[in-house]
């Protein structure tokens, strides 16, 4: 990296959040959130819609005041030093929020100007992304496709060379190819030393982050690397596929030794106790036998490795 930003010299965490809470009237949007994001990592905030992801992002980008708790971004307090934070963060909201009646180039130029810089000065930062939409630079932003809009939004968020990038659900509503491209871009940005905090409702994107926080109903369930989270899955996981899946799900939940059972696409994932006692322990074989006795045929029962989503379900069940 040829340019070095002064904020990066210290080893203060890029983001430090202590006991942040926020409620809208009676709705508790965030409850006692505490975490750190290290310099230069891709940190994923993963959880379903309405879990509080956007509220957290809006607090950290100084758009919203927390009710209680403290947070710093690059060492600056989000309440007292919000002006300093606004100079160094890039934010891409979940909803496309650029001027639809201005052209691609005009949008980029406005955001460059608002940060007292020019497109030319930081072109190297956005080159990979912007070059893909540059052929359409005289087109109005409103006339772009979803994927191209996202690229323009990312370019606008990057044009002032932020040291931290906040991406709120950047892959929601984007086709799989653009999604893949976006994650590749984030990898590249990381290699340039930019800290990235990204939220997503897609559990399969968790493995693309360095560390993740699983969020549900305004609380963090777990913060760790994706590998560690998967490893900590405490139960045996069995996948069951067969006919009449709806009724099968109910029946599975009644079998002793089954801790939980959820529908995952075309199969059911059964979490079973890993007991040292062989008699009580439920394995794929014993489960298949049990189901056959109950008259189920055409079954496909096998042991599987847990994914992030299984861990999320396990954590929410607690």
């Amino acid at each position: 990296m040829t340019h070095s930003t002064p904020h990066k010299i210290s080893d203060t965490p890029a983001i430090s959040c202590r006991n942040i809470s926020k409620s809208y009237g009676k709705v508790n949007a965030l409850h006692d959130i505490t975490f750190d994001v290290q310099q230069g990592e891709i940190f994923g905030v993963i959880g379903p819609d309405g879990a509080g992801k956007s509220t957290l992002f809006r607090i950290l980008t100084t758009l919203l005041l927390p009710d209680t708790g403290d947070a710093t971004v690059e060492g600056f307090d989000v309440v007292k030093e919000y002006k300093k934070i606004r100079k160094i963060v890039g934010y891409m909201p979940g909803k496309f929020s650029l001027y639809q009646d201005l052209t691609v180039e005009e949008n980029l130029r406005i955001f460059a100007t608002l940060f007292n810089t020019t497109i030319e000065e930081n072109y190297h930062l956005v080159k990979d992304i912007y070059s893909q939409i540059e052929p359409f630079k005289t087109r109005r932003a409103g006339a772009l496709s979803g994927g191209m809009k996202q690229k323009l939004a990312l370019s606008c968020a990057l044009i002032h060379k932020p040291s931290i990038l906040f991406l709120d659900e950047p892959t929601t509503g984007i086709d799989p190819v653009s999604r893949k491209e976006l994650w590749e871009m984030l990898r590249k940005l990381k290699s340039q030393g930019i800290t990235i905090i990204v939220s997503t409702p897609y559990m399969d994107e968790a493995s693309l982050c360095d560390r993740i926080a699983l969020i549900q109903n305004g609380s963090f369930l777990r913060i760790d690397t994706p590998d560690n989270i998967v490893k900590s899955f405490g139960n045996r996981l069995i996948s069951v596929r067969g006919e009449n899946m709806g009724e099968l799900l109910k029946r599975l939940r009644e079998i002793p030794g089954v801790i939980s059972c959820f529908a995952f696409g075309d199969s059911h994932h059964v979490a079973a106790e890993k007991s040292s006692n062989q008699l009580n322990s439920l394995t794929a074989d014993t489960l298949a036998e049990n189901l056959k006795k109950q008259g189920y045929t055409n079954l496909e029962v096998k042991n599987i490795e847990p994914g992030i989503e299984d861990c999320f379900m396990e954590l929410t069940a607690k």
Partner: protein, 363 residues
């Protein structure tokens, strides 16, 4: 920074399909069409006269009727039937039939009968026209009688500042205010709410641009456009009605600036409370209609019931309308308009203060 934001606003303004056209068409509509459409006075009623008497008195009567400006002698028919055909062909609105012994009866018996027939298809022309006509004839009647009695007093009213009591002269200055209120009060507020609705305001909020710069970038273009539109209004009023302010234009511009400041503050208050364009529009119309009816634009404030007169102090429109009418028609100077000056200043402080406070509360 402000320069680029202004450039962006102007670009967006001129790029939108409707706004630039509206800005040009509005002053012309307001100046040329509205005063005519909102005109209650009657002029140029076409009169058909059937004069069976053809005496000095009857000619005098017809002259008196047609010299007032309300009636135009459309035709002199030989018979009532001919006159009626004129009404049917829409050539005339009212028929006045003078009987053959009109002068003789009047002199001999001090009494004579006239016949008035009005086309009631056009209610104002027919109804009000015949009432006017009866009035003029009544006047004429008196003037004949007073010739007989010496020293009788006749009242001749004189309408100061608007000698011909022209409704347009009364309306045009007030309509200029409406145009200014729309351009400088509504448009910036709707623009800000539009950015809220699109989410673009969030993107601006995370930049180092401070709030004041952002709001100025919203207000300044419409202030400029507002004053351009106001100036167009002055010219239109001059060319179309020969109406030029009796007082100084500088006074008008000064008060217009003060009004614009207070009314855009009002717009900002609304933009703070509305989250969607629909809400903003509804709030705007609610308050604007209240302000208009309380302002004396159509009905003089002095004609309102007591409670309404008291309520009319809440309408900033009232004060600026007073200023424009007085400067235009009466030639009032700044010192004559001090009351309006203080009231408009108070509104400017009140609305802008409220805008700042309500904004703080939300963030």
């Amino acid at each position: 920074m402000l320069k680029y934001l202004l450039e962006k606003e102007f670009k967006q303004f001129f790029r939108s399909r409707a706004l630039p056209k509206m800005a040009v068409i509005m002053p012309f509509m307001a100046m040329l069409i509205f005063p005519l459409a909102a005109n209650f006075e009657i002029k140029n009623i076409n009169l058909a006269v059937v004069d069976n008497d053809k005496s000095v008195t009857s000619v005098k009567l017809v002259n008196k009727i047609t010299s007032g400006g309300y009636f135009r002698l459309a035709e002199s028919a030989a018979t009532y039937g001919d006159a009626m055909r004129g009404v049917e062909l829409n050539r005339s609105d009212i028929i006045l039939e003078i009987p053959s012994n009109f002068e003789r009866d009047l002199k001999r018996e001090g009494e004579a009968k006239l016949f008035i027939a009005a086309n009631a298809v056009s209610q104002t022309k027919g109804g009000l026209g015949s009432a006017y006509l009866a009035g003029i004839i009544g006047d004429f009647n008196k003037s004949i009688n007073t010739q007989l009695k010496d020293g009788a007093i006749t009242i001749s009213p004189r309408f100061w500042y608007n000698p011909r009591l022209l409704y347009t002269y009364f309306m045009v200055p007030a309509l200029m205010v409406m145009v200014l209120a729309m351009v400088c009060g509504f448009l910036p507020a709707l623009n800000i709410v539009g950015e809220k609705e699109n989410g673009t305001i969030e993107q601006i909020n995370v930049t180092p641009v401070n709030k004041l710069t952002f709001i100025l970038s919203k207000l300044l273009p419409y202030w400029i456009i507002g004053f351009v539109v106001l100036t167009i209004c002055f010219f239109v009023a001059w060319f179309a009605y020969g109406l030029v302010p009796a007082g100084s234009l500088a006074t008008i511009y000064l008060f217009a600036a003060l009004f614009v400041l207070s009314f855009s503050g009002f717009g900002l208050v609304i933009s703070n409370y509305a989250t969607t364009l629909q809400q903003a529009m509804f709030m705007m119309f609610f308050f604007l209609l209240t302000f208009i009816f309380m302002s004396g634009l159509y009905t003089p404030v002095a004609n309102m019931p007591d409670w309404a007169q008291k309520l009319s102090i809440i309408s900033p429109l009232k004060y600026i309308i007073i200023v424009l009418r007085q400067v235009y028609l009466k030639g009032s100077g700044f010192t004559d308009l001090l009351n309006s000056f203080w009231m408009l200043s108070a509104f400017a402080i009140f609305f802008n203060g409220w805008a700042v406070l309500s904004y703080r509360k939300k963030s």
